[in-house]
């Protein structure tokens, strides 16, 4: 009973202080808004309107349909028609076009032969983004195969793009961005909140009172859980309003998944607060953790494409598991029941860091 009173006293004090700390308050709202705007509007990995030329040596009904379909994807804009593959290569080499579509004279016959590609895409492989965009092109038009030039391998499979048929990057980015923002703010806020008490000498007073370590930690953490949920709401709403990001799964699952990440990040923040001597150190440690989270979690680069070692590191990071969970819930309509391994990983991370934090946080000064 007294324990609850003490927790509540700390909680109330924390909220009061927070409401008077305009900078932190601004960060709670400002960081999600700025990040959403940046990643949603400015950074766009959906490449469209690549300059393209077509060399149609077949000149049949079928080949003209293919060229028109390619244009219709909007991935390419056909800016020139040439007669031979050699001319295409020349344009590509000179940088006048990014993609060349070569349709050989025997195109209709080739289409019948399943073991051969019917047409070729010549791609400027010097820019990896263009290369992957061109691959998208090959996958989207489903009724022809393309044969890659020797140096390039175009996709051989017919890929059906589920869950984000229009391939808008905001749809992929916003759910994961939620995790990035929570990782940044939650870890930092808790770490700084406790280190600040130590820096200002408040902790020396508190540890001389009957307040217990666990009570202090709970009282300091709970307000940030709410702040985390406010941020989640803000990001989801902004994502829906600005970018029509869908929530295919249930809203409850979105919040539950987010809570698991919030818990993991808050306990990490606590652990950092027991290690850092100053607010500046706490900030450094947070960023030390934040960078690999952003780079390895699958938020920026595909998880599968990373070397094994990087994947192992990524598996330790809470954000990696959250990115899987939230993309599953928001984009694929998956249920948390099917994401037990990732949820379990988040819980395990929370349990380990929280234990370490409580062990390290002595109620003594030595």
């Amino acid at each position: 009973m007294n324990s609850l009173r003490r927790i509540f006293a700390i909680l109330q004090k924390e909220i009061r202080q927070l409401s008077r700390d305009r900078l932190t308050f601004g960060m709670i709202i400002g960081i999600p808004m700025i990040q959403i705007a940046l990643f949603g509007f400015a950074i766009n990995t959906d490449v469209r309107h690549l300059r393209a030329a077509v060399a149609d040596e077949s000149n049949t009904e079928l080949s003209r349909t293919l060229a028109a379909d390619a244009q219709a994807t909007q991935v390419i804009d056909v800016i020139a028609h040439v007669r031979t593959a050699t001319e295409l290569e020349a344009l590509l080499r000179d940088g006048d076009i990014d993609v060349g579509l070569y349709i050989p004279p025997d195109y209709p016959r080739r289409l019948q032969q399943r073991d051969r590609s019917a047409a070729q895409l010549l791609v400027d492989g010097s820019d990896p983004i263009i290369l992957s965009a061109a691959r998208q092109l090959a996958t989207l038009t489903q009724h022809y195969d393309s044969e890659p030039p020797q140096s390039l391998r175009a996709a051989l499979f017919d890929i059906r793009n589920h869950f984000n048929p229009e391939r808008r990057s905001a749809v992929n980015v916003v759910p994961a961005l939620m995790g990035v923002i929570l990782t940044m703010t939650m870890v930092l806020f808790t770490a700084v909140a406790i280190v600040r008490e130590r820096e200002r000498g408040n902790l020396e007073l508190l540890i001389n009172t009957p307040v217990k370590t666990v009570e202090l930690m709970i009282g300091k953490i709970v307000p940030y859980i709410f702040i985390g949920l406010v941020q989640v709401t803000l990001i989801v709403l902004l994502g829906m309003l600005l970018f029509r990001v869908p929530i295919e799964g249930t809203v409850a699952n979105v919040y539950l998944g987010s809570l698991a990440l919030i818990a993991a990040n808050l306990s990490l923040g606590l652990l950092i607060s027991t290690l850092a001597q100053s607010q500046f150190q706490a900030m450094q440690m947070t960023f030390f953790f934040f960078l690999p989270s952003i780079l390895l979690s699958g938020f920026m680069f595909p998880f599968a494409g990373m070397p094994k070692a990087a994947q192992y590191i990524a598996e330790v990071l809470p954000l990696t598991h959250f990115v899987r969970i939230i993309r599953g819930v928001m984009l694929r309509g998956a249920d948390l029941v099917h994401m037990v391994p990732d949820l379990g990983a988040l819980f395990a991370f929370t349990a380990v860091t929280l234990t370490l934090a409580v062990l390290r946080f002595h109620k003594r000064l030595d």
Partner: protein, 314 residues
């Protein structure tokens, strides 16, 4: 343990690596006393206080505070003690009333008790006119009164004050000591560390600490009476030259200039201290006036620390 003793330690020691911050300190602090820790910075005052409230674990030795074994029963002790840190450690972004309410909650005072105590403290410490003011905007004296009000809100039996007056003006210091005497009169035991001699003189009893060791303890009167040195004052002399000369003389513990006089501490082993000084100055300054005077607490402090230095050097 008799109820008349608030703190008793036996060979209390604390090491930080190779540094011995507190070295075998034996303390006995009676209840309802104001007990002083006098010593320069780094003498182990804060470390001792921190060990006594269970914030630091002793490396060796024992401590019994309010009948509780420390650090084993430190959590029980925390309800019975108040602690005022050297720097202001309440929340600067909370108001006076919010700070006091927070402390009341932390000590789980009942609702009626909380209202009553906060009202009493605001009245006693003259803070009731500004209860909504943020603590960070208070003056040094006001902050200090608030800190004492918070530290004594739950009516602790024992109050630890770690250099409480280092940041306030002389008038606030005097007012502060009035509060301390009121508390002591009501039965609170107070352990206060200081490096001000005038504050030390106000204590019922005190311990002089020097580099981790307790070099003397007792009432201010007893300490002055039992000083291990003769106190000599010299007037009508070329003070600068006399000082330079006396500093070279063995058995002279210290030479300090006080205005137009020199105050000299001479080893207790010297029988005729005035003759000893006159002899030393005869050649250069024959007309000086040399007098044996009563020791002050500062003399006790200097003598105790100087004697120890010599023992170390020897």
């Amino acid at each position: 343990m008799s109820s008349g003793i608030a703190i008793r330690t036996h060979n209390l020691t604390r090491r930080f690596g190779t540094l011995v911050a507190v070295d075998r300190v034996n303390l006995t602090v009676p209840r309802a006393h104001i007990y002083g820790f006098l010593g320069p910075n780094g003498s182990g005052k804060s470390t001792t206080i921190r060990m006594l409230c269970g914030l630091l674990k002793p490396s060796a030795g024992e401590a019994e505070v309010l009948g509780l074994n420390i650090p084993r029963e430190a959590e029980v002790l925390k309800r019975k003690i108040g602690y005022m840190t050297q720097r202001f450690s309440l929340y600067e972004d909370l108001s006076i009333i919010e700070n006091l309410e927070f402390i009341a909650e932390v000590y789980s005072l009942s609702r009626t008790r909380r209202h009553e105590r906060i009202a009493q403290q605001l009245e006693l410490f003259d803070l009731k006119d500004r209860i909504k003011q943020r603590a960070g905007t208070l003056s040094g004296g006001q902050k200090q009164r608030l800190a004492l009000a918070a530290a004594t809100l739950h009516e602790p039996e024992l109050l630890f004050l770690d250099e409480p007056t280092s940041a306030v003006d002389p008038q606030s210091r005097r007012d502060f000591w009035e509060f301390l005497f009121q508390l002591a009169n009501h039965g609170t035991t107070i352990l206060v560390s200081t490096h001000y001699m005038d504050e030390a003189e106000r204590c019922h009893a005190l311990a002089i600490l020097d580099r981790g060791s307790m070099v003397a303890d007792g009432t201010p009167k007893a300490l002055e009476a039992n000083i291990d040195a003769h106190v000599i004052e010299i007037e009508r002399a070329d003070l600068h030259a006399a000082r330079q000369l006396l500093l070279q003389v063995p058995r002279v513990l210290s030479v300090t200039q006080l205005g137009v006089r020199l105050r000299v501490l001479v080893d207790h082993a010297v029988d005729d201290a005035t003759g000893f000084i006159k002899d030393a100055l005869r050649a250069s300054q024959p007309g000086v006036d040399v007098q044996l005077v009563r020791a002050s607490l500062e003399d006790v402090f200097v003598a105790a620390t100087q004697l120890r230095n010599r023992e170390r050097a020897a």
